[in-house]
């Protein structure tokens, strides 16, 4: 995404447009144009609906679990295993089967959505906030500010995220680090994701701002005596909303995968909290005999990532139709 992002989103500030509608020429706002294009994209709509459903399921997970008559994801039932300790497969009472501890896989998949969405959305939001702010400053002021921020981006990008996560997970496993302030868990994953991904937002925003700051409306605002802050946040930033939304939507699934990868490597959330990555990791040794323990959280992860990607594609097409042609 990074290199050509400025070009991809170049038409995002196109303003009011004229289109034909029922034989008449009608004026439509960018929002109306976006919505008109987005409504035509059934796949993006289905993905959006899936994500909304997923968010609702995550928020109301206890209710959903109760509604389907499933046990709590933390209820262990050791009697649900065979003589060799093999867990019970899918059945009426446990539609997705149980794990070796006798915990219901369906309810754990439902609760696992909470971690994935929390990490994906909050991590991306923090990264967006940092990246957009620093990108705006670098692109608008240029000079030594741009140099410092750009070098900071280079340095940050050179830090391998998974290795950093493994290092923190290993060094801070039990007692934590920095007087217990850093402990493996959701907080650390969100921090790692925000730390590693703000750079992408900053680079894109910087590139766009370098272009926008030379445009007439910025010069006009400057001529009218507007302050730098007003120009950055009231004049330039609104023109960046579309690319930021699109990029954030595409970044969320990547961050969900990072959470899954870190949890798979044992750095993520601590048991018994349910997480898809952790479930997949735990299922690896027993996949031959208990496929359900890996397939369902795997499918949930895959569908969620796919939905966010498809929605991101749809938003990009709707916000800037030139890129889909």
């Amino acid at each position: 995404m990074g290199a050509g992002a400025a070009e991809i989103f170049a038409g995002a500030d196109s303003g009011i447009d004229l289109v034909e509608s029922g034989g008449e020429i009608a004026a439509r706002s960018p929002l109306q144009l976006f919505w008109r294009r987005f409504r035509r994209d059934r796949v993006a709509q289905a993905s959006g609906a899936f994500i909304v459903l997923l968010i609702l399921v995550a928020i109301f997970a206890p209710l959903v679990v109760k509604l389907f008559g499933l046990p709590s994801p933390y209820t262990q039932n050791p009697s649900l295993s065979g003589p060799f300790g093999e867990p019970l497969g899918p059945n009426g009472a446990h539609p997705f089967g149980v794990d070796p501890l006798g915990e219901d896989v369906a309810s754990r998949v439902i609760y696992g959505a909470r971690v994935s969405l929390e990490v994906g959305v909050v991590g991306t939001a923090i990264a967006t906030l940092i990246g957009v702010t620093l990108g705006l400053l670098a692109g608008y002021y240029r000079g030594w500010i741009d140099t410092v921020i750009s070098r900071l981006i280079d340095v940050t990008l050179s830090i391998p995220l998974l290795l950093l996560g493994l290092g923190i997970g290993s060094a801070c496993a039990v007692r934590g680090c920095v007087a217990g302030a850093i402990q493996p868990g959701v907080g650390v994953i969100i921090f790692l994701i925000a730390f590693a991904t703000w750079t992408y937002f900053a680079r894109i925003v910087r590139g766009l701002v370098l272009s926008l700051r030379e445009r007439e409306f910025v010069e006009a605002a400057r001529a009218l005596g507007a302050s730098d802050a007003r120009i950055m946040f009231r004049e330039i930033l609104p023109n960046l909303v579309a690319p930021i939304i699109v990029y954030a939507t595409l970044q969320i699934p990547l961050n969900i995968l990072v959470e899954a990868a870190l949890s798979f490597l044992g750095v993520g959330v601590r048991p018994p909290t349910a997480s898809w990555g952790q479930m997949i990791a735990a299922a690896t040794p027993t996949f031959n005999t208990a496929w359900w323990y890996m397939v369902y959280p795997g499918a949930a992860l895959l569908l969620t990532v796919l939905a966010f990607n498809l929605l991101g594609d749809g938003l990009r097409d709707a916000l800037n139709p030139r890129t889909s042609q």
Partner: protein, 601 residues
């Protein structure tokens, strides 16, 4: 582009549905007949090491052995792992050894006969056999000086033997030895060794002579390797047993007969004299392949030929073997198979309170913990701390164990647990203290599941817990048994005795006098009860198997009365072989294969 995305979505959904349909639902139940073996049950048709016939094997052939894990230390002075022992047992001749089917009766190996114990259990005299020769490039006959050097080097920091002081501390000068001559160990003739003790502890010193550190080491050849830190003798070792690691003319083994992480090759020792040894040594060569997926390895062994697997097969393979290949499966119950228990901190934190320990014992579903590790086929519910095949086991309660209410229900009894919570000062029957219980477990399966189950039990008792799962070796080296870490519960610890003596089972894990403040301890619960410590010190001096059994059985009962840990598994180790292999397994070494007795059909 949209069409592509639609196809992608549909294809994905179809793939998921197809996968689910193809996999089908699994049955959770299966049955197999069982036969009883000393109170522990084994599935029908499965072999037991104690019943194996040790004679009549076919001479010749090459055995291919596969194992997922690598060896740890192959130097006989440092080896301390069952896979390592599998090698040292066929390449080295310690003073005494066990035949494969016993864990109590030792057989003189390099020693000519039983040791002579005199001076009130403070002097041991041993004669060694004549006609035993080292393998190339040393070739010469083994003398008493070579055994004396083995004693010297066990205390050499470069050799880094991890256990010698636990058993040999009473040898005169051993405590202060650093690799040089030990005043209490002398060759009084070409074939005679004399060992002087400062305390009357001959029993435990002699018992430990089955370990590979007593194998002879030629000082004239090995000293230059032992001078290096760490010692390189393991990479250039010579053999005294029927087999040797393949080496070059300089005796170098590393990179030739042993490729770490890849392979190890044992060939016949050309200088081995069969008339001096009780081992038949049927096979001509043993090729060991290291690494691989346990499931794949298991299938190769069961369906292939000339193969054995030396580490425990995966649970699905055990199930397959029980149901379809029972005659190719050996299960070793008791003896050297070891145990597993939940260590609770007796010295610090909430579990200093004996009633809280009893409450946790009562609440723990020990059958469930065992099911997480493969079920009854590979585990018996542990009810006390000595186990089957060790002197004192029957005296301290046998399989049912001591009759105390918190030990009665193997599936856990919350009412009894509540009783002890109240006795501990929590009238509601739930823990209401402010402390958070720190639980540190092993992150690998199935231990991680056991840790989670124990964590859940603690929460049922009202404890606020913090569960951390770390890598197996990190758990042992950094947290469990490290005094300064103050870990409250370690749910994944276990013990395999070094030899078949009750002291070897109970002393190291539960004797508070052995706790070191700075460093790691194998007393993971930091058990330190003066009365029990004193009883152990006294029992260490008792001589005779029966008397020692009785003395240590009383200590076992005390350990249960103090609920020093939550025992849950007497392990039963499973091993598989190909159909044309007559595998002989060492009951004393967790049931691993004995290459010097195994043959091809």
């Amino acid at each position: 582009m949209r069409a592509l995305r639609t196809i992608l979505l549909v294809a994905f959904v179809a793939a998921v549905m197809t996968t689910l349909a193809a996999c089908g639902s699994s049955s959770s139940s299966s049955s197999s007949g069982t036969s009883s073996s000393g109170g522990s049950s084994l599935p029908a048709g499965v072999k037991n090491p104690v019943d194996e016939s040790l004679t009549g094997g076919k001479k010749g052939g090459v055995l291919n052995e596969v194992q997922a894990e690598d060896f740890e230390h192959l130097d006989p002075g440092q080896a301390y792992f069952q896979l390592d022992y599998q090698i040292t047992n066929s390449t080295q001749r310690s003073l005494y050894s066990y035949e494969p089917n016993t864990f109590s009766q030792t057989t003189p190996d390099l020693a000519e006969g039983e040791p002579k114990i005199s001076d009130g259990n403070k002097l041991i005299t041993i004669n060694i056999k004549k006609g035993v020769h080292f393998s190339p490039p040393v070739n010469r006959e083994v003398t008493a000086d070579d055994v004396v050097y083995a004693f010297d080097r066990v205390a050499n920091p470069n050799v880094a033997n991890p256990y010698y002081l636990g058993y040999l501390e009473s040898i005169e000068g051993m405590k202060d030895a650093k690799g040089g001559p030990i005043p209490g160990v002398k060759a009084t003739g070409k074939d005679t060794i004399q060992i002087k003790l400062t305390e009357p502890q001959a029993a435990i010193v002699v018992a430990s002579m089955v370990l590979p550190w007593t194998a002879p080491v030629p000082k004239d050849y090995a000293a230059k390797y032992d001078a290096k830190k760490p010692s390189e003798y393991g990479n250039y070792q010579v053999a005294s047993g029927p087999y040797m690691m393949k080496n070059n003319s300089e005796g170098k083994v590393l990179g030739i007969g042993y490729q770490p992480g890849k392979s190890l090759t044992l060939v016949r020792n050309p200088n081995w004299n069969a008339s001096t040894d009780f081992r038949p040594a049927y096979l001509d060569q043993i090729n060991i392949a290291i690494g691989g997926d346990a499931n794949v390895i298991g299938r190769q062994v069961l369906e292939g030929s000339d193969m054995v697997q030396s580490d425990a097969p995966a649970a699905p393979i055990v199930k397959l073997a029980v149901q379809q290949h029972p005659s190719q499966l050996t299960i070793s119950a008791g003896g050297g198979a070891g145990d597993r228990y939940v260590a609770v901190n007796n010295s610090d934190g909430p579990f200093k309170n004996v009633n809280l320990r009893k409450a946790l014992w009562a609440a723990t579903d020990r059958e469930a913990l065992n099911r997480l590790r493969g079920g009854k086929t590979v585990a018996d519910v542990m009810t006390h701390f000595l186990w089957n095949g060790i002197a004192g086991f029957e005296e301290s309660g046998g399989f049912p164990g001591p009759k105390v209410d918190y030990n009665e229900s193997p599936t856990g009894d919350m009412k009894v647990a509540e009783k002890y919570m109240k006795l501990a000062g929590y009238p509601s029957g739930k823990y209401t203290g402010s402390e958070t219980v720190q639980v540190v477990g092993d992150s690998s399966a199935p231990a991680n599941n056991v840790a989670e189950a124990v964590n859940s039990t603690l929460q049922k008792l009202g404890f606020k817990t913090k569960l951390n799962l770390v890598e197996h070796t990190v758990m042992y080296s950094k947290y469990c048994g490290v005094v300064s870490e103050k870990i409250d519960v370690c749910p994944n610890v276990g013990w395999v005795p070094d030899f078949g003596d009750p002291q070897a089972v109970l002393d190291v894990p539960f004797n508070g006098n052995l706790i070191v403040k700075n460093g790691t301890n194998s007393n993971w619960g930091l058990v330190n009860h003066p009365k029990i410590n004193a009883a152990m010190e006294a029992a260490a001096k008792v001589v005779g198997e029966k008397a020692r059994g009785e003395a240590w059985a009383k200590i076992d009962e005390e350990l249960v009365a103090e609920a020093v840990a939550i025992p849950y598994q007497w392990a039963k180790e499973a091993y598989i072989e190909s159909k044309n292999v007559n595998g002989i397994n060492d009951y004393w070494n967790s049931g691993t294969f004995n290459y010097a007795f195994t043959s091809l059909k």
